[in-house]
Amino acid sequence: MSNVSASEIAPLSVFELSRFLAAGEMSAVEITEALINRIEEKNETYRAFLTTSFELALKLAARSDARRIKSAPLSPIDGIPVALKDAYDTKGITSTVGSGMFRNRVPREDSAVWEKLNQAGAILLGKLECTEFCLGGPSLDSAFPKSLNPHDKERYTGGSSSGAGVALATGMVPAAMGSDTGGSIRIPASFCGVSGIKPTYGLVSLRGLFPLSGSLDHAGPMARTSRDCALLLDEIKGFDPAHPTSSKRQIAPTSPSLSGDCRELVIGHVTNFTELEGVSEESQAACLRALEVFEDLGAKIKKVQLPSLWDYTIANTVIMTAEAYAIHAERFAANLNRVSDLTRHRIALGAFLTAENYIKAQKARRALSQKTYALMRSHSLDLLCYPGMMGDPPEIDKVGRYYYLDWPLITSPANLTGAPAASVRVGYSVANMPMSIQLTGKLFEDGKVLSAAHAYEMATPEFSKIME
């Protein structure tokens, strides 16, 4: 058994763990055993893992240790334990996509993301709870136990990558993979107080990620720091000829360029998002304070206005709902009573959208993207900044089935435009819930987004903690 305790390992970042591994001060087996202990201690309460793969993890960890002794690590994350949202296919391991209908679904192939992480030497601890078919939540009648927010169990974790947010916040795993169609990485990252990036559309292959809406789906990393997100992104990005949405345009590794230096950055503060009706005063104030930190770090801040958040929200919602219905229509006609109440409502709405609705939304997507990037060019902006969420996570039983038709989705612009977007924690509210900002960049400038997020996190280390 390990000489290192679970409570010593749990708060460590991927970056720190990889340094200990490189220095020979810890082994991958020790780290893996400690995190297995942590999961066994915490998962019964917080329910982040749907499936664990401890036997495989220990085997992979032993192989990683042997590699280090015999030759060299495969990558900076060789020997680092990770977990995947249960929407990623894993050969021979149940992949439920959060649905009771897929309770016994065992893929024959690995997703591109796990293929790449495996090739980089990462260690799979298991599969993480997600809301049914990645539709977002919360579902009160879900087939599987829902993850609980460690900051307040009565409040929503955010979805759909809910298990990833909770597993990171409670120190069960140092890095995880989420996916994001309307905010499903950034919402749980924000509500659970961790980091996450939705990369540029097409930068990370979607092969083997169960689709919600192929033209808006993004695969991306979540971790407790933006530097860790960069370490993961560097391993999972890359052209995949086997998936039509994968981009041939690639970017340089992001992690080596994280400097903490913001002196060359010009950040556009999107005032009409920050001051929007419904954004809490605390969220607005937190965003303004974060911008002051960036100014202190040398960045130049300009106030700008984007098109209405409602325009992005409705285009995103119509595309997502129509595409999700097209994916699930046949299955649903026969099994509608086997899915959760929330899934039934959200998917069924897609049956009533017309071709004209969908085409209009797709045309608006292009027009809104053009306006967004034109604004960034005309103001020489590197990044845009606005609140990560409208306010504190709501109480679980107070989230409406169609809440995104009552309040606009502040995460939707980056899905619609395909822009890289990071959720960066910026402190705690009066209710002691985590708060965040969003930093979004130009297409394929994921490194710039992560670099700014890293600089902010280095300047505000007091916001980093795990929940016991």
Binding site: D311, F332, A333, A351, K360, A364, R401
Partner: protein, 71 residues
Amino acid sequence: MQESKLNQMRLSLDDWERLAEQSGLDITQLEKQEIYQAYLRVQELLKRLDQIVKSEAEPAAIFLAENFSNE
């Protein structure tokens, strides 16, 4: 620009229910009412996009022949 007939067209609850029957979805009367309300809200919000794109704007999905090879 004159609003197109299609944009003005909203399904009545009766028509909508017939469409629900045709879809084969087994949804309760209570669920139908809530989904119908959401449908109306979507149609209302979609009108916003008429100010952003014209119906004769370029196609939503662009097929570029150069993206495909004969191999």
